[in-house]
Amino acid sequence: MPPVIDHEKCTKCGKCADICSEDVFYGSKKGEIPNVTYPKECSHFAGCVYICPAKAITLRIPLPMLLVYKPSEEIRTT
């Protein structure tokens, strides 16, 4: 569930927790790796992804939100 923090890369600066308007990182403590406390409240704007100076955050887009596209190849019907 979004966002996903790479614990190896995270520098514990807390910027993601600071800027998230939904506060999905609620309860995170300064100087520690933020907790993704309310992942389902993520709005998938990727603000946290792009403010992270260590590029430690990725958004895992939940299955219900997968974009629907028309494939360029033929669809097998058997």
Binding site: D23, H44, L67
Partner: protein, 546 residues
Amino acid sequence: MFQEEVIKADVLCVGGGIAGLMAAIRAGELGAKVVVAEKGNPLYSGCGRMGNDHFETWVPEVHGEDMDAWIEELLGTAKGEILIGKNLLRAQFRKAYDVVRLWDGYGIPMKHKGKWEFSGHTFPGRPFTHIKYEGRFQKEILVKQAKDRGARIISRAMIFDLLKQGEAITGAVGVDTRADKIYVFQAKAVILGTGKCSRLYPCLTPGWMFNDPHGNVQAGDGRAMAYRAGAELQNLEMPQRHIGPKYFAKFGQATWVGVVRDWYGKAAGTFVTSPDRRYGDMICEVSKLAPEQYTMAGKGPLYMDCTGIKEEDLEYMLHWFVHEGNISLLDHMKEEGIDLRKHPIEFSTYPHRGGGLIVANEKAETTLKGLYAAGDEAFGDISAAATFGYIAGENAAKQAGNTAEPDVERSRPVIEDKKTQLDTLRGRQCGPDWDETQVALQQTMLDYAGHVRNESLLLQGLHHLRRIKEKARATLTAGNPHELGRCLEVLNLLDLGEITFIMALDRKETRGLHVRPDYPFTNPTLNQAHIVSLRNGRASTSWRPY
């Protein structure tokens, strides 16, 4: 037990979106002591959080000196049915170009490669209406401008009710969404800019509530508190729907350079026949219901088809996607191997969203003394938010200069009552949480005030919603300060849902998305503002010419 902090200001801006920040900038510039209270963080809050790429404005070098001619052309074609007074649109457009130049001066690039760039939101052959601008970092820039003019910005402060003495607004109360603390604001003028009402109806992905192009914390807070304070609201029963990529709810209909086509490649409209960077496909503007109608007619799905796009136009579109706040959409397409050159993207009619607005005039004044409204709270888009935010800030500052300092202590019984309410929500051990309550609300709204409405359906829905509201008031639980904020949002939404039913019953006609088979025709005499306000504890409705 809630701690209390009293904060005094001349002008209090509720919400730090585009409107709130522009209000803070202008009021600060005029010397007012300004506080912005934002329940998230204004650097990344509101519809404009990750950017916007178009701004509706007249530009004299492009459109000629006759601004009024451009305005009238715009009102005559591109706008379709207007559910607000044209005087408001005229006020916006007369100021919008000034605001564009201000933004350019602040460092938000309003030109592209040194020139005014127009595209999208325009019918081929008609005058252009929206400049393209690079808004990716607009919030950061506006926050800095507000701070430079002395505005104090308080994040994680969710205002939930207004304070009033007599008929004048004197402040507001809010909670800290990270600590058990109540904020008491004393202000000579309050500007509401809390945005849309996103969570009244279920979202695009059932069971996954936070998937709305506006973001998901816009819960109609401003409308609800304005109503409870006695201000007039308008047209709440007229829901809105948008159009965009299926299941990944994002704005940007006019940023897409493609043709809306069916599975077999047949265009849905007649405006463009191949991807055109100047116009996009206006079918999205003409009928946001097109994807749903295609499906219902057995012709679906419908796609935004960019195949055949020129390489330079693809690059152009991707550039503007970033500024329109759709960077996560681009990342997702990349991860999934979706190539717009060969993969049409299914478009969807997005679900119902709570409609209506707070009644405000050309000066952004609501019907309560000392209370202003701007942005999606009142009406409009990015241009309206910026322009009316500025107008609201100017008039609020002027009013504050002529108003004696109110004494917030005179509202002490009300404040203590609010504290008790908050204590109760936080203290309960057992009961529904906010999202359980919201599911109950949303299913009731969709089933009884959704696609089709009639008197019996609406009466049943109103009765059921009131039961939910009563139970929520008596049993809602907030496990921590974050959930307390969500609970207050849901309580606001319940109020707005109830008013929506009352107004839908009162609108005895079919118009737009208000479909009443028991009154199947549009009644031209009801082409007026439908007003509601709280009088003696009850919703009182009336009609007034726009």
